[in-house]
Structure formats: C-alpha cells, structure tokens
Symmetry: C2
C-alpha cells in the first residue's frame, strides 16, 4: 500500500508531531506510516480523512503486493 500523507501534511503545513497530536497517535506512528513501515488501522485512516477533508481512497492506494 502506498500513501500521500506526507503531501497532505505539507498542504496543511504541519509537522509529524502536530499531525500525530491531532489524530491521537505518537509521532513515530506517523513517521512509520509515511515511511511505509506498516499499514495503519481503518480508524486511523478515517481520522486522517476527517483532518484532510478528503476520502480515504484519495491518500491510501493498494499496490501490487497487497
């Protein structure tokens, strides 16, 4: 799975730390997701959706290996 969180975060112009606080996770969680080290839960995806004001499918996409 690939994601555009880094880009969406740049649009909001906030740090990983700030994004983490807004959705209630640790900074490392955001960092790890941006680095594709693991796949987030759907609750986390929906919270990002609210914050970014965009549907989940806009910033999370399946890849070959999924």
């Amino acid at each position: 799975m690939e994601n555009r969180i880094k880009i969406e975060r740049a649009i909001l112009d906030i740090t990983q730390e700030e994004l983490a606080q807004k959705i209630g996770v640790s900074r490392q969680t955001i960092n790890s997701i941006e680095a594709n080290r693991y796949v987030p839960s759907t609750v986390l995806a929906l919270k990002l959706s609210e914050l970014f004001n965009k549907p989940v499918n806009d910033f999370f996409k399946l890849t070959e290996d999924d």
Copy 2:
C-alpha cells in the same frame, strides 16, 4: 467505528465465506468485523472498496468512541 459490510455483502448477494475468499482473509475475520469485534486494517478496507466499487468512507464511519 461502525460499518455497513453486511449490507454491501447483501447487495452482492454473497456469503461471509465468499467475501473472505475474494479479499483473501478468513471467514472469521469478516464475521468479526461485521460484528464490530475489531477494526480492520486499511489494506483490508481498500480491498473491500475495490470489491464494493465504493469509497471506504461509504461503508466505514467513525463513532463517538473513536
């Protein structure tokens, strides 16, 4: 988080077992998600999105407790 998987599955007219096979998880996983026993991963949500031909936000919604 609440979901409408049972309804989407009814629209496709397939069993939990069939849905599970189509997206590559066990039947118990589908059953547990429909029963809100746990929250699926975003990869699973995206696979359902493909199958249902609808955005994730259409069948997964945040609730108070999220």
